[in-house]
Symmetry: C2
């Protein structure tokens, strides 16, 4: 096997739970590998008890599927385990994903239990993509969602993503910055995300910069001299109000003013943010530096940002690190990938996963999901899951049903609502038919889609629970399967 | 710029906070870039309020430093920002790390405030490695530590790492599996970690495997036929006690026994683990399957494992997913990288970071850290931080001092203790002089080092706070700097 170090060419293919291989080998030996099956990726619970999730990671999922391959080194490794045979290795050597995939567009606000990615593929192919599909979507959706929450509470003030050093690995930093941008941050400190995705990058100085000079003033002066047009000074290395802010003002007056330049900003990274920013604002204003921005960055998250703004903190922008890049208060997005149906003798046979925990029961069958928009308000009323071949007609009344209780239903009247399919065709029999959108396009799309939701869905605490309902046909089928104990034959 | 997708060749170099570049450019323009400086990487708080951390990630840090380079695409990107000049790009184009690095060995139990990595390098070089140094060590140390905690509570039962799908990105899964192995897991489900690091991989089946067959029995039979020697059956797809376990027993009797084989195990992934494993154990024993192992894997962590074992759950091994791979209860390891000294006119001038928060004050100077072992018990008494050139002599009494309070001290008597330096030389003026250890060697070393700690340090709640003390000389110097407000000149 080749040696793989941190900068080797990557092979995402083997970010794969080993059971995908043991199952696939089994299917291969049983002659079941070519059977067409249907899997849904969905999730059950919004992180942080929020109102929704921002779906993200689709572009990387597409790339991972397109690049999927088993190298000779991989096969040599698998051979060394002595549990597979050479026919299987030939199969893997020639492996290519030939299935069909539908998915929600990146940036879409989504809700529990609706199919976000639907895979129709040969059994082995559907199985082998499972792990990297989940890690890709789970990770980026988690961070995009957290970033949205943080930006929402910043109420229009720019938020910078600063978390690379505390991310869970290089991808945590790199794709985390991408996801955070989809979620709404104004930029990142992670340079690689600028290179790869065009996320705006920003950075000024660390405490070590200030310390490396003989005095704080010397450090500020050096920085102002090199960056007179974008001079943001870190003022808390020694004492924010007694030393940092006065030295920043002195630099504005003695270094920048003679060049005809203004001090762009100061940054605080410690202490009582509400108190210090109010004091600093007064000092800057007294010195005539009304246009000098104040940015803060000390273990912030959506809750702390809301709190300091409520206390009247004088803040123009935020830098958010570890709490966003790992979604510290909810560091797991629990997306799952569940068998929904199998084909047999040309028939689609729905499958269901039964559990004593009601919330773990799946929706059976090959399905589609639609968003229902109320025409009068141009707001989303509910999402509805239907069988893939069901025809929904805006010209008819539509009754939508709770996912397990038939008596919980609601009728939308013909002409009052629009039906918008949520999933797009991504792969058509192995061929990617979906365009590559720029990150700016994805971010703008996300903003537009969020505007379709009622304000009540955005509450940090106890948000309105958005309806994700079923058609009558799907609910009846599901209840019948549950009554029969999940065994369809 | 080249297009970078998930399987492009990697360049870890630009997992770099942009301020490393803005500061470096400043140093470059000021002619300060060649100044020799000293940085320490350390941390302030054990995750999960535990007693220690397992240091991990050094091998990847070494590789990242060796591979460090700025590609033409990177430079083209930086040029597009219009804030740097061509001289700086020439410097970056020819960049090579030429500094000296000391670090603790991977697998060492370490404690707050002691220098884990010490960098002596030219100012720009020391700055440009900061971000990837931190993310590498922070991530792997976090997961190795969590894995240790989980394995500790499993009390000798093997723990498998199953978390790839819930990891924060591909590296979260891949290097997370490596770190978990250092921390003590028996293996992983993440295949790439088997290929790259030789971590034992294991996997059996998912619920979808069972569902893809016409019946649970058919699924079990197919699996047993292909893997008669290592047949572990997932028994909770429909009903664990009414269907899963009886079908597993039937396969043991009707499929495996005629082949002269035994059922290796069953796995439960839902429900009340304590109750179900006791019932399942009885059913297996009644069927004569005393040697059939029971493995469980349902949202486990160290606390839940301790709890179910206290309840008498009948469990032979554990699979642990999301709670370990993201260290869910404490998903950030807060390693920092702080300036400790600068050279000026051939003199080493210690630097200190002052803060109103006492715990954010740094230890100044170019330092070394030692572990003190009590000869009588062969247990570690304390670690001690000294100036790099201080000579500690086991033949003398040694008084060790609390990091800020001189009256908190303790004297070790000559002949009763041994002094073990904790850091090794890793890079000597840019050249890596440290051997590459196998993961097995690192893991075995870690086990040996943990055995040097008192049992009291291992408690999950309120562990003994291990002493990390200073020499008299270092404490006096620090207190003098604090009294002078951190300004050394």
């Amino acid at each position: 096997m080749e040696k793989m170090n941190v900068s080797s060419e990557r092979n995402i293919t083997l970010i794969m739970d080993f059971y995908e291989l043991t199952m696939s080998y089994n299917y291969f030996k049983m002659g079941k590998g070519e059977q067409i099956v249907y899997f849904d990726m969905f999730y059950r619970k919004n992180p942080d008890n929020g109102g929704f999730v921002i779906f993200a990671g689709l572009q990387q999922l597409i790339e991972a599927i397109q690049d999927m391959h088993f190298s000779e080194g991989d096969i040599e490794y698998l051979r060394s385990l002595h549990i597979f045979d050479e026919d299987f290795f030939d199969y893997l050597r020639n492996f290519k994903f030939t299935g069909t995939i539908y998915a929600v567009k990146e940036g879409t606000p989504v809700f529990p239990y609706e199919p976000l990615v639907t895979v129709k593929a040969k059994l082995i192919e559907a199985q082998l993509i499972e792990t990297f599909l989940l890690v890709t979507i789970n990770h980026q959706s988690l961070i995009a969602t957290k970033a949205h929450r943080v930006c929402q509470e910043a109420k229009g003030r720019p938020v910078m993503e600063f978390g690379a050093r505390r991310a869970q690995g290089y991808d945590g930093a790199h794709y985390g910055a991408r996801a955070a941008y989809i979620g709404g941050v104004a930029g990142t400190a992670t340079t690689s995300a600028g290179v790869a995705f065009g996320v705006p990058v920003l950075g000024t100085m660390a405490h070590s910069f200030v310390q490396s000079f003989d005095s704080e003033f010397e450090a500020f002066k050096a920085y102002a001299t090199i960056y007179p047009d974008s001079c943001v000074l870190l003022v808390d290395t020694y004492d924010t109000l007694k030393s940092g802010v006065p030295n920043a003002i002195r630099v504005a007056e003695e270094v920048l003013a003679p060049m005809g330049k203004r001090l762009a900003g100061i940054r605080l990274d410690s202490g009582d943010i509400a108190y210090l920013t109010k004091k600093a604002r007064m000092m800057l204003d007294v010195a005539g530096l009304h246009d000098c921005k104040i940015t803060v960055s000390n273990s912030l998250d959506e809750y702390l940002i809301r709190s300091v703004l409520e206390q009247g903190a004088q803040i123009d922008s935020f830098g958010v690190g570890e709490n966003m890049i790992v979604s510290k208060s909810a560091p797991v997005f629990g997306g799952v990938y569940k068998l929904a149906a199998v084909e047999k003798d040309g028939q689609i046979i729905p499958k269901i996963k039964i559990s004593e925990n009601t919330e773990k029961i799946t929706n059976p069958g090959y399905k589609k999901v639609y968003r229902l928009i109320e025409k009068e308000t141009n707001k989303a009323i509910a999402d509805i899951i239907a069988f893939h071949d069901e025809i929904l007609d805006e010209g008819q009344d539509l009754t939508i049903y709770h996912q397990s209780d038939a008596w919980k239903n609601k009728t939308l009247y013909a002409g009052t609502y629009e039906i918008v399919p949520l999933q797009e065709l991504i792969f058509d029999q192995g061929k990617c038919v979906y365009p590559e959108y720029s990150l700016e396009e994805i971010r703008a799309y996300s903003t537009k889609q969020k505007a379709l939701l009622w304000d009540e869905v955005f509450r940090l605490e106890y948000p309105h629970i958005y309806y994700v309902d079923l058609t009558k046909k799907l609910l009846d089928y599901k209840l019948k399967m549950l009554a029969e104990g999940g065994k369809t034959e």
